[in-house]
């Protein structure tokens, strides 16, 4: 360990104005080529504290995987400063590799033709894990991820869910301080998803492993992460608590009003009717506003029978956020 390795615990992962620009050559005619620069990641800054569990979400092509690849050191940033555990990933990829674990949901680190246990033995040698720790970690993963019956099965015969659990174990045998998960629940059924989430939760709670999770499944985020970062068009458009996303995405809550009889659409300041179905009407109002005055006003002028408030659907909020970003990019 050198002095340069000292890391403040709240800046365990640190990105400062990180950019990644790809040169894309496109054929525009016979022998004519156009060079174009694509900013996959456009000046992103954030820090992740040791032991945090952060969701990193965004639409396809937003720059999530590019960020992860820079964090592992297999891509070099075009600009900005990036440190993981005090290490510059692309300069000291091998040294960093000892301290990070990576799981790509759509790829496998396991040896396809050989029994699962062979891949683990290889990891043991690759990361030079001391024998005792290797055995402890393996036992723990085998128990929590229910791998006991799978160890002697060739990887190619495993189901997707089994393989995913196998991959997660492989990424953890060397006690990484950080775990990057790139869509770990993609394609899994409900039971397998639940197992993976439960395992990640206990990993984070018991071992304090820092987890950075990209996903398209917002339930992953809702169940695991207290903090979420949203990236779109290479830029960070939101960084904060999951609950705050509603306001940032200009989310709306819905007031469902049951009236005693059919009336024309309710007219009330601060809300608008989105749907009418007989005596039932749906009103949208800003998520940040309180429902109480609205209810009072409606009750004063309309024959109110019953009502309910619906929280905004997080998926809808994010979809709106992406759409807004896209419009912004065009204009």
């Amino acid at each position: 360990m050198t002095d340069g390795d000292f890391v403040e615990p709240d800046r365990f992962i640190e990105l400062d104005g990180v950019e990644k620009v790809f040169d894309v050559r496109r054929k525009t005619g016979f022998l004519r080529r156009e060079r174009r620069q694509v900013r996959a990641v456009d000046s992103i800054s954030f820090t992740v504290a040791r032991g945090e569990m952060v969701g990193y979400i965004g639409p396809n092509g937003a720059g999530k995987s590019t960020t992860i690849k820079m964090l592992t050191g297999i891509l070099t940033p075009s600009g900005g400063r990036l440190r993981v555990a005090g290490i510059d990933p692309s300069r000291e990829r091998r040294r960093l590799a000892q301290r990070i674990g990576v799981v790509f949901g759509q790829r496998t680190t396991l040896w396809w033709d050989l029994p699962l246990i062979d891949s683990y033995r290889l990891v043991h040698r690759m990361y030079r894990v001391p024998d005792r720790r290797y055995r402890e970690n393996l036992d723990r993963c085998v128990e929590l991820l229910e791998l006991a019956d799978l160890l002697d099965v060739p990887v190619r015969q495993l189901s997707l869910g089994q393989r995913m659990r196998g991959d997660i174990a492989a990424a953890l045998l060397h006690d990484p301080e950080v775990l990057y998960l790139d869509e770990p629940t993609i394609g899994l059924d409900v039971v397998s998803k639940a197992k993976v989430r439960e395992f990640l939760r206990s990993l984070n709670a018991d071992r304090g492993t820092t987890v950075l999770l990209t996903t398209h499944d917002l339930q992953d985020i809702e169940q695991l992460c207290s903090r979420v970062m949203v990236i779109d068009h290479g830029r960070l458009v939101y960084d904060g608590a999951l609950a705050g996303l509603h306001e940032a995405g200009e989310g709306e809550r819905t007031l469902v009003v049951d009236l005693e009889r059919e009336v024309p659409p309710i007219e009330v300041p601060g809300a608008r009717v989105t749907k009418v179905e007989g005596p039932r009407q749906w009103l949208a109002f800003p998520a940040s506003a309180s429902a109480a005055p609205l209810v009072a006003r409606i009750a004063a002028s309309y024959p109110l029978a019953d009502l309910a408030v619906r929280e905004p659907d997080i998926e809808a909020v994010i979809a709106r956020m992406y759409a807004g970003e896209a419009e912004g990019a065009v204009s």
């Binding site: 690849k69 297999i74 990829r93 990070i100 790509f104 759509q106 790829r107 033709d113 040698r125």
Partner: protein, 266 residues
């Protein structure tokens, strides 16, 4: 020492992966034997017309054929080494996984290929060779030293063979689809290694050139050591020089590839 154990484990894995596919191995053994039979009768007819062609007598020519069949899959002269998988990993972007590991890409794949080669030699090469030695007049050395020298030349041939194929595979970083390059390498390898005809047979400049190319390290060099036609040390020097040059070139290309790498896929 720790690194040695890793690469030993990778080599062992390479061996066992190929050992998994027993039916494929049996089919390969059969193919090599049939192919050997065709070549052996062709050679016999040729040597009948031109005795001592290329400095070989008939028994030596027959031995050469069966040795070629033993080394064909071992040295992946007709393809089928780890380069196919490596190329596929580059194409699909799975190479990302290999790159973030705390291990060396070239050493990793070299180890895997050596494990594969060893299995192919034992599992696939010995049977056609034994078959040939049983049913045809062959010229095999009686002393252990020549056999040991021969095995040394085979080991160096494995390094040279991998050196060539690793470079071929890395071309996929730039071309994405390396099929064209690998087919050219496959054709060149088939001809220039002496798999069709011993390189000694080729006259004049053509002979000089093919004997100086790296592919002659693959089959011609070990064969001449086994048949007592070449000095082992001189052969080792030739093979060793090519192995070093090719592996060094592979290392250069690898670091260039890693620098400009665009890992495919999300």
């Amino acid at each position: 020492m720790g690194a040695g154990r890793l690469y030993a484990a990778v080599a062992a894995g390479g061996f066992r992966r190929y050992a998994t596919y027993r039916v494929a191995t049996a089919a390969g053994v059969f193919t090599n034997t049939v192919f050997g039979l065709i070549l052996v009768y062709t050679y016999l007819a040729l040597w009948e017309e031109r005795p001592h062609l290329g400095g070989y007598d008939q028994a030596q020519a027959v031995t050469y054929v069966w040795l070629g069949q033993a080394l064909l899959s071992t040295l992946a002269i007709g393809g089928g080494g780890v380069e196919d998988e490596l190329m596929e990993r580059i194409r699909t972007g799975d190479i990302a996984i290999d790159l973030y590991r705390p291990s060396d890409l070239q050493l990793w794949w070299l180890s895997a290929d050596l494990g594969r080669a060893l299995f192919q030699l034992l599992g696939r090469g010995m049977v056609p060779f034994g078959f040939g030695a049983l049913f045809f007049p062959v010229a095999l050395p009686a002393d252990v030293i020549t056999w040991a020298a021969f095995l040394g030349a085979v080991l160096l041939a494995m390094l040279v063979g991998f050196g060539i194929r690793f470079l071929v595979a890395l071309s996929a970083f730039w071309l994405l689809d390396g099929t064209g390059v690998s087919q050219m390498a496959w054709l060149a390898g088939f001809f220039c290694s002496g798999m069709l005809l011993p390189l000694n047979v080729f006259p004049g400049t053509l002979g000089e050139v093919v004997r100086a190319l790296p592919w002659s390290s693959l089959l011609q060099a070990p064969a001449d050591v086994l048949l007592g036609q070449a000095d082992p040390l001189g052969t080792y020097a030739f093979q060793g020089a090519w192995a070093l040059a090719l592996l060094a070139a592979g290392r250069l290309v690898q670091s260039a590839a890693a620098r400009r790498v665009v890992v495919q896929g999300g």
